[in-house]
């Protein structure tokens, strides 16, 4: 499965052939139509996803403001990473904003595999962390609200 290895694969060159086969055995392809809901905020997650094509929106529901998209997942990005971290529930609602294709990895099986095989974990976790870290950096920057207009006193 070239999605996992090689220069264009998600895990780079680090996976051994055996590990790659193990991951492939846990994976399946999925496609989503525009407006399909991929995950619900708070719902249990069964799969870790790697987006191949299209765009997914991560949304939070804010009472009074409706659904706010806080981030989009672009091809090559991971989604449903909460599926490998307890309590294995989605931290946002994920909606396909255009037709999308993804690779889904069975999360329970993946967790088991990672527990069984430290060498697999040693490859998968850093990659996942790198992805989560990038997202965390972005979230911090967004928190700064850099493009916000300065607010002055109304009359001065």
């Amino acid at each position: 499965m070239s999605e996992f290895t090689g220069s264009r694969g998600w895990f780079g060159d680090a996976l051994s052939q055996q590990q790659e086969l193990r991951l492939a055995s846990l994976s399946r392809s999925a496609s989503f139509a525009a407006a399909d809901v991929v995950a619900h905020e708070g719902a249990p997650l069964t799969d870790l996803g790697i987006l191949r094509l299209g765009r997914l929106a991560l949304r939070l529901f804010v009472p009074g403001r409706g659904s706010v998209t806080i981030l989009t997942v672009e091809p090559g990005d991971v989604f449903n990473w909460s599926s490998v971290v307890p309590p294995y529930r989605s931290s946002s609602t994920i909606v396909a904003v255009e037709p999308a294709e993804a690779m889904l990895i069975d999360a329970a099986a993946l967790r088991q595999a990672l527990a069984d095989d430290p060498t697999l974990a040693a490859v998968v976790y850093p990659r996942l962390l790198a992805s989560v870290s990038r997202r965390l950096q972005a979230t911090r920057t967004q928190l700064l609200d850099l493009f916000a207009a300065e607010r002055g006193s109304e009359w001065t």
Binding site: R55, G76, A138, Q142, A149, E150
Partner: protein, 672 residues
């Protein structure tokens, strides 16, 4: 006697009144030393009876007292709290008058006053200070007309130092105690009279009218020796060798916070300094705001508002302000004006209410033996690679028809809302120089009763320019409330724009965040106009929300242009937005392209530009080819007010466009 330039003559003390008469006969008011409020100050004096005869000044850090001195001497003191800049660069000066009648606006410069003055008692350090201000205010990038006029009307009677104070360090700064140049007449006070020398033709002519006798060699020897003795007494208290670089290497020193513990932030050091030239402009207007006079007053980098902009403060801490002052005087001034900003007169030492001594602070923060020690784990990580050595001085922008310090009028012909608070004004009837605006340059927009506002030019057309303005405060709001037909006053074009010459067929990366697209739009248009088939243009835009995107139609057209890769993102969106949501660096941090031969242009909030620059570096774009526009508090727009200083540069004068390499350490440095 016949006076010959460079040959000293002698004036007995009893004949000193003749000097006053001669100066007054030449139509000059005399400004010289006199006692007031317990100190020797400079003020108008009418005769020798106003001089501080018999008084000396006892000075140390934070301490000044008048004490009886040599009873006969008129000049037996060192220097007091006043400096002669009070008369060449007065505390308050009216600059221009602005009026609005209906939609018409006029802005007229107020003619400088330039009284014929004679400065009496100018010391070596003070002559040097006048020279420093000449370079800043008269011979620099744009001359200040008021200073130039006043300065031209001054006759200088220097007086050699025959006494010194514990606060003196002219010897280190190379400014004294000897008076060597820049005077019309120089006196040396001797036991019974004065050795008098002419330093200019005007001085020689004045000496011709004085009852002088030839100076005897013993008198000349006495004069030389008394000044030489002062030099020996002062010694060499400040190690200036390599000082600029030493200081710049210590921007992160803990000593800044330590001195801020004692510093009152009171502004005294800067305002007694004979070279400090920072000012602010205030508007004095009638109740209708239709008639106003802009007045310039002395300000200080220690003022709480000095580095403030609508969104915050670039130097919020006292330690930022102290560092700004000290590094400017002893380091970055050299980059900007070719000399130290300090002449070693010691005023800032004496007149600091808590006695902070710059000589001690320099020795403590930037000691000579310093080779910036690198301790593992203690280096500060910056987003951009910092050059080990300070970068080379920055080339000033090309001065000429592209920069105009004069106000001119323009008419608003269209106003287009871009977002809920941002509008684009289309201006016509322009001064032709404005039509020659380069992409990245800006203008100061001035309306009666409001402070002038720097606005970058967001389009340069054949018959007009466009300004895109966000109503962030009252002054910008007033601009957005103008109507078609209204006039505005503009000073510009100003600053250095994007380096179009550097394009050179390279791939171009343009990254804009928020309002940052405004100064980039003329560049995008220029780049696309000269696009060659081998060239790629990658355009990355970020905005807060979909509703905050600027120039949406233009962007759509750019996206359709062959050779252009266009990506945009927003920080957050509603569920109807199908585009990207996230930060602008994510548009290209995992892209495939190689930036090694590319040139990048970035504009947005500074924190965003830091992130973009770091990402571009990782993608191979060199600091020399990463260009940004910086924001600082701009008040004059022509490098004369000091507000927008950023380390070695003034943003208005040297920028606002800089390469990351040019900025070096200054980019991303807290409190600079």
């Amino acid at each position: 006697m016949d006076v010959i330039l460079g040959t000293p003559a002698y004036l007995p003390r009893t004949r000193l009144p003749y000097l006053f008469t001669a100066l007054q006969a030449a139509g000059r008011r005399i400004i010289g030393p006199t006692i007031s409020d317990g100190a020797i100050i400079y003020d108008e004096i009418r005769g020798v009876e106003d001089l501080p005869r018999g008084w000396a000044d006892q000075q140390s850090a934070g301490h000044y007292r008048l004490v009886p001195g040599n009873a006969d001497r008129y000049f037996g003191y060192v220097v007091g709290p006043t400096s002669f800049k009070r008369f060449t660069f007065p505390p308050t000066v009216p600059l221009w008058r602005a009026r609005r009648e209906g939609s018409e606006v006029t802005t007229e410069a107020i003619e400088p006053e330039a009284p014929a003055l004679a400065f009496l008692g100018v010391r070596g350090c003070e002559l040097a200070a006048i020279g420093v201000q000449d370079r800043v205010l008269r011979d620099g990038f744009v001359a200040d007309p008021d200073y130039a006029a006043r300065r031209a009307a001054i006759f200088i009677v220097a007086v050699q130092c025959t006494v010194s104070a514990s606060t003196c360090f002219c010897t280190s700064m190379g400014t004294g105690p000897e008076v060597t140049t820049g005077y019309d007449i120089a006196l040396t006070e001797l036991n019974d009279g004065y050795l008098v020398e002419a330093g200019s033709e005007a001085g020689r002519r004045l000496m011709d009218t004085l009852p002088l006798t030839p100076a005897e060699s013993v008198q000349q020897d006495e004069a030389k020796e008394s000044v030489a003795a002062v030099r020996r007494t002062i010694g060499d208290p400040v190690a200036v060798e390599g000082l600029p670089a030493r200081l710049l290497a210590r921007l992160d020193d803990a000593g800044w916070a330590a001195v801020a513990e004692r510093c009152l932030g009171c502004t005294n050091c800067t305002l007694v300094c004979p070279t400090c030239f920072c000012t602010s402009v205030g508007q004095v207007s009638d109740l209708d705001g239709t008639d106003s006079i802009a007045e310039r007053t002395w300000d200080s980098c220690f003022s709480p508002t000095f580095a403030r902009v609508a969104g915050g403060d670039f130097r919020p801490r006292l330690q930022d302000r102290y560092r700004q002052w000290l590094t400017h005087k002893f380091s970055t001034w050299v980059d900007q004006f070719g000399s130290f900003g300090c002449v070693g007169c010691g005023r800032c030492v004496t007149w600091c209410p808590v006695g902070i001594d710059v000589r001690e602070e320099l020795a403590r923060i930037a000691p000579v033996e310093t080779v910036a020690p690198v301790v593992a784990g203690e280096t500060i990580q910056r987003p951009v690679a910092v050059p080990a050595a300070p970068p080379a001085p920055i080339a000033l922008p090309v001065v000429g028809s592209t920069v105009s310090a004069d106000f001119s009028r323009a008419t608003v012909t269209r106003i287009k809302p871009e977002t809920v608070d941002t509008y684009t004004l289309h201006l016509t009837d322009l001064d032709p120089r404005l039509l020659a605006t380069q992409p990245g340059q800006f203008v100061m927009v001035e309306q009666p009763a409001f402070p002038p506002v720097p606005i970058s030019v967001s389009r340069i057309g054949p018959s007009g320019i466009e300004l895109t303005v966000r109503a962030a405060g009252p002054a910008t709001k007033a601009i957005t409330m103008l109507a078609p037909g209204d006039q505005v006053s503009l000073r510009g074009p100003l600053g250095r724009g994007w380096p179009l010459a550097e394009l050179d067929g390279r791939d171009v990366i343009l990254v804009a965040g928020g309002l940052g697209l405004a100064p980039l739009r003329p560049l995008v248009e220029a780049v696309l106009a000269r696009l060659v088939p081998s060239q790629k243009v990658r355009l990355y835009l970020g905005a807060r929300t979909p509703a905050d995107r600027l120039f949406v139609a233009d962007a759509a057209a750019w996206a359709r242009t062959a050779g252009v890769d266009f990506e945009e993102t927003v920080d957050r969106a509603g569920s109807d937005w199908t585009g990207r949501v996230g930060i602008v660096t994510h548009l290209f941090d995992e892209a495939e392209w190689d930036g090694r031969d590319a040139i990048a242009f970035v504009c947005g909030p500074e924190r965003m530009m830091q992130a973009v620059a770091a990402t571009l570096t990782r993608r191979g774009v060199t600091p020399e080819h990463t260009w940004l526009t910086m924001e600082r508090h701009m008040e004059c727009g022509i490098g004369l007010c000091g507000h927008c200083q950023l380390g070695r540069v003034f943003v208005c004068r040297d920028g606002p466009v800089f390469s990351v390499a040019e900025l070096g350490d200054a980019f991303g440095q807290e409190g600079l």
